[in-house]
Symmetry: C2
Subunit: 105 residues, 2 copies
């Protein structure tokens, strides 16, 4: 039933780099080719290519060559729900850090 913790950890690692999240955000509104993502994010082409490859291997995005361009697309928009859930949980954590701090002061 439970995926091994190693697999889960690896999946979390996919979203644990800011630039990779930036690439994902660029793809939020629809498929883009590499150059478009580069312009969207301001990252170097080589770096974008690497992150896109990782996201592809992780099964988060799909690679679709079209002529001389290569388009990438988010496969399941559920990842954005996951990002949102994490962000919400992050805020909760920050809140509780604060109240823990107040309990001390």
């Amino acid at each position: 039933m439970a995926a091994p913790l190693e697999a889960l950890a690896e999946y979390f690692k996919v979203f644990s780099e800011p630039n990779r999240l930036m690439v994902l955000e660029a793809l939020r509104e629809g498929p883009l080719n590499v150059t478009a993502v580069v312009q969207c994010t301001g990252l170097s082409q080589a770096l974008v290519s690497k992150h896109l490859k990782l996201l592809t291997i992780a099964g988060v995005v799909a690679r679709r060559p079209e002529g001389s361009l290569v388009f990438y697309e988010v496969l399941d928009r559920g990842v954005f729900r996951l990002l949102l859930a994490a962000e919400k949980q992050l805020l909760t954590a920050r809140e509780q850090q604060l109240s823990a701090l107040q309990a001390v002061l």
Copy 2:
């Protein structure tokens, strides 16, 4: 509205190590002191201490000294929902990798 991607990435990083997830799982059923977590997980005492410190800094668990023992407790059980959501999303990603593979074969 949106937390900076850096903060979000850092939060994901918290859950991106198998041993840290193992420590979290050990705390699922309630507060434990360090030695109990060590026994639960089979990890070394120093390592458990490190991971617990990280989880504390991240605001995921709380540290509560009790006599000569130190108990750690998950602050918001919502993290377990997050873990579950991620696991589900991971399975979805695997599925779509498979169907993409079938589309090629």
